[in-house]
């Protein structure tokens, strides 16, 4: 929190005065990026190639149809069809009586899942069946495919991680150039004109600045590691090329999101990642629960996207610009009054969008269900990158939030509440991925608390370290599930591979997974000197700092209570949430890796780590979880700062300063006077005590009593545990408050539609019919009659002429 003094008050004085003369953009040496479009284009290339492969694979999986116009098929229709259906002929020879070494999406998956032991567990599982991705391993070692893999399942292993590594390389090159040049203004380049309507001009433009390049580094770096992990995790899946295509497409959209130079371009990425999230959550869409989870994520995100859109409309209507540079310039020119209703609503609607994407109260319910997707997807999309897009949005819009202190406080309060709420649910989950899912929601709450309190760099810092350790934890859980699944599959034991009650003592069998996950657990619990300690401590420290009056928000009165009181409350709530975090992570590690093994005697023999592709990303991410925090170590800490990449203290803050400084300045300009607050050491001591205390409490409380496996151990005891286990019944409450009324309304409308509207339409039809029948009687078919009518008609006409 030492740097908080600098970030808040000194941003105006020290940084502004000494290095950057106010009002005049300070320019370093000119920054020349190296083909930045490649960062975005490479994953798109991967998507195109893998997509083509997946189409080829799907076509091959179809039963062969007779060639058009083949005369031999005209005579005996039935025979050839039966023959082809029985033997779908292609190169990838499948052995083992219908086991899923078949790469065909259509038949292979069906055949593979039908006799699946874990599927049986789904049926009588006490808790909901979301988030069980056991299907990755349908084809396993015991039934390895005899023939060579077809190229459609071989090439994605090289294409997908390859394009990501290349994109990472380009990002690193750009990062190094930017570090050397230290530009103060963002680099913006419009590649083509996208929309030009009236006053609205939106170019397909990329923006490179300190924030976007950092996000690009995280997305491509962590993304590349997770792509490597996915190779090991998913390569036996019948839909492997499709999976890799989706994953590449996701990275393309995510990079569009972070590198886009305007809100509309960002929105393209925003929607695109939502689409890919939907596709990947429902990747195993043949099970209804998975498809439903995908739909839930998509629909809940729509609510947030509505907010994003309204915010964009308001912004364009009131400011007249949608690109980041233009918006910031206009707002710094005081186009909208400080803390006025318009800027507050813009900020709040942007925050609604962020709530949807980043799973904050009240829109967080989709994220735990999103665990239905493959575990690497959970690591990449639902922990490291996409769900942090909301934090990025707030940090990117720092000027807007700086001018709207009420909205900023709302962001901080919602973030803190989410952190506490989700952490409490995480205390009593048995599914290892559910624990991590609620942990992610909780950690995102920390980030929002940070950016809400104006500590943008701290929020981004936590975003980065969280990407490291949470991706590591998710991939570790993936490795655990992978091993558990193989072990359970070896004897077809109908047990849940993700339930921690079936694990225990795994550290002997999965040593690398254990070490990397343990390191990441220490990091997330906030034990020094691991990455999470520095970032989380900064966030909580920002709250203490604001409570002491050191933040521009401190004196702002919101809902009758001064900001410093709010921040004090946020600090307390975050501290409790941090304690819970340490506790549930300790509980997870204890139940998974310590104690006696509960998998089963026969199954235990099959518990071991497999592929190097599963281990390498874990090791790299584990290392990053250890050292990632050093990048922003405080100035006063001796020695350590010389080890980080920048060779200076608070390096990340200095790095991000050109981006977030306008927002901090906008907030500080309108504050009366921010008194200097002396740094104190007790918050750091408290943070260390919380981290270690939570882990220790978990150890002491939970290791006493030996645990039974899922069949014998009850899921909960007592009322509080039941409420926690059932996630505070929020899903049920939403169901009663939103889903049921909407369904009732739909039924009412359906009845009106079928009973009234359809009846009316039918009546018109029936009426015409009746008229037709009636007038049809006039047609006698007798020529004489017609002639008579004709003559009568002529006489009438003539008569009328005469009469007139």
């Amino acid at each position: 929190m030492l740097l908080l003094q600098e970030a808040a008050s000194a941003a105006v004085h020290a940084a502004g005065a000494a290095e950057f003369p106010p009002g005049k953009p300070w320019l370093g040496t000119e920054f020349h990026p190296v083909m930045p479009w490649l960062i975005v284009a490479l994953p798109l290339l991967g998507f195109v190639l893998n997509g083509a492969l997946s189409i080829i694979a799907a076509r091959r999986a179809l039963p062969k149809l007779p060639p058009v116009g083949d005369p031999s098929y005209d005579h005996h229709d039935d025979e050839p069809a039966v023959a082809h259906a029985a033997a779908p002929a292609h190169a990838y020879a499948s052995v083992g009586a219908g086991d899923a070494s078949e790469p065909s999406e259509q038949e292979g998956h069906d055949a593979g899942t039908a006799p699946h032991p874990v599927d049986a567990a789904h049926a009588h599982d006490v808790h909901d069946a979301h988030g069980h991705d056991d299907h990755a391993h349908d084809a396993h070692d015991d039934h390895a495919p005899a023939g060579p893999k077809p190229f459609t399942h071989l090439l994605p292993s090289f294409i997908a991680p390859g394009v990501m590594l290349a994109a990472f390389g380009v990002a690193v090159a750009n990062f190094l150039r930017m570090k050397a040049a230290a530009p103060h203004a963002p680099w913006v380049h419009s590649y083509w004109d996208w929309m030009s309507v009236g006053d609205l001009h939106v170019g397909a433009a990329l923006q490179l600045d300190q924030l976007s390049i950092l996000m690009a580094l995280v997305v491509t770096g962590v993304g590349a590691l997770i792509h490597v992990f996915s190779v090991g995790y998913m390569k036996e899946d019948p839909g492997y090329p499709r999976y890799m295509a989706y994953l590449n497409l996701f990275c393309f959209f995510m990079l569009t999101l972070v590198l886009g130079a305007s809100y509309p371009v960002m929105f393209v990425g925003w929607e695109g990642v939502g689409l890919c999230s939907y596709l990947l959550i429902g990747f195993w869409f043949k099970e209804k629960a998975n498809a439903d989870a995908g739909k839930k994520a998509f629909i809940v995100n729509r609510i947030g996207d509505f907010g994003f859109l309204v915010a964009m409309f308001l912004l364009f209507w009131n400011v007249g610009a949608l690109d980041f540079v233009g918006v910031n310039e206009a707002l710094e020119g005081s186009i909208l009054p400080f803390a006025g209703p318009v800027i507050t609503w813009i900020a709040l609607f942007f925050f609604l969008g962020a709530c949807g994407k980043s799973a904050q109260i009240p829109l967080y319910t989709w994220l735990p269900d999103a665990m239905a997707g493959p575990t690497p997807v959970s690591a990449l999309i639902h922990a490291a990158t996409m769900v942090t897009a909301g934090v990025y949005l707030v940090a990117r819009s720092n000027v807007i939030f700086g001018l709207a202190p009420a909205a900023a406080l709302v962001v901080a309060i919602v973030g803190a509440l989410t952190a506490l709420f989700a952490a409490s649910i995480g205390l009593k989950q048995w599914d290892i991925k559910k624990v991590l899912a609620y942990s992610t929601v909780s950690q995102l709450g920390f980030m929002f608390a940070a950016v809400g309190m104006g500590a943008y760099a701290s929020g981004i810092f936590h975003l980065m370290t969280h990407a490291f350790f949470k991706a590591c934890l998710f991939l570790g859980s993936g490795a655990v599930i992978h091993a558990m699944h193989h072990a359970l599959h070896s004897t077809h034991k109908p047990a849940d591979a993700q339930d921690m009650r079936n694990m225990g003592g795994l550290r002997k069998y999965l040593p690398i997974t254990f070490v990397t996950m343990a390191v990441s657990t220490l990091a997330i619990a906030g034990v020094p000197p691991f990455a999470g300690f520095f970032s989380k401590d900064e966030i909580v420290g920002a709250a203490w700092h604001g409570a002491a009056g050191g933040s521009p928000l401190s004196e702002f009165v919101f809902a009758g209570i001064p900001g410093s009181r709010w921040m004090l409350a946020i600090g307390v709530v975050l501290s409790i949430a941090a304690f819970m975090t340490a506790f549930y992570m300790g509980r997870m590690m204890l139940y998974t890796f310590f104690g006696a093994n509960r998998t089963g005697d026969e199954e235990r023999k099959h518990l071991h780590e497999r592929d190097w592709t599963l281990k390498l990303p874990l090791i790299v991410l584990g290392l990053l979880a250890v050292v990632g925090g050093l990048v922003n170590v405080e100035e006063n800490v001796p020695l350590v700062k010389s080890f980080n990449f920048f060779h200076q203290g608070e390096a990340l803050h200095r790095w991000l300063d050109p981006v977030v400084e306008p927002g901090v300045r906008a907030a500080a300009e309108h504050a009366r006077h921010i008194p200097p607050v002396d740094p104190e050491w007790w918050p750091i001591a408290l943070a260390v005590a919380i981290g270690l205390g939570g882990l220790a409490l978990a150890w002491v409380l939970l290791s006493r009593k030996p645990l039974g496996d899922a069949a014998t151990e009850p899921a909960y005891q007592g009322g509080v545990e039941k409420a926690l286990y059932n996630k505070w019944y929020v899903d049920e409450a939403y169901d009663a408050a939103v889903v049921k009324p909407v369904q009732g309304l739909s039924r009412g409308f359906a009845r009106f539609d079928m009973g009234v509207l359809d009846w009316l339409v039918d009546m018109f039809g029936r009426l015409s019919q009746m008229f037709g029948v009636a007038f049809g009687r006039l047609q006698t078919g007798q020529l004489n009659t017609y002639a008579f009518v004709l003559v009568v008609g002529v006489l009438i006409v003539l008569g009328s002429f005469v009469a007139l």
Partner: protein, 101 residues
């Protein structure tokens, strides 16, 4: 030639035309019907010719057209009737209601 007043010729034409119309409306036999139609055509021809000294030579020219068309019509009409008779063994118009709804 100027002995016969115009009104006589037109009256004859009108009577012939009325007989033709009455025949078409009343009679059932297709051939009689056909002859009535011819009667109406020739009533018109008579009117044309009677009026041509007053209205010019076009009326007489038009009569030739009408005669030519009537001849063609007679040929087609009689052919149809023969075809119908072969199927139905009858030329009663009462039976000719095949195309009714």
């Amino acid at each position: 030639m100027n002995d016969i007043p115009l009104s006589y010729s037109l009256a004859l034409s009108a009577i012939l035309f009325a007989i033709g119309v009455a025949g078409v409306v009343v009679r059932r036999n297709a051939i009689v019907l056909f002859m009535c139609v011819e009667l109406m055509l020739n009533a018109v021809n008579l009117a044309f010719v009677a009026l041509s000294p007053y209205a010019g030579v076009q009326g007489q020219v038009f009569v030739f057209f009408v005669i030519a068309v009537a001849a063609a019509e007679a040929a087609v009409g009689l052919a149809i009737m023969i075809a119908v008779f072969r199927h139905r063994e009858s030329l009663d118009m009462k039976n000719f209601s095949l195309l009714r709804w």
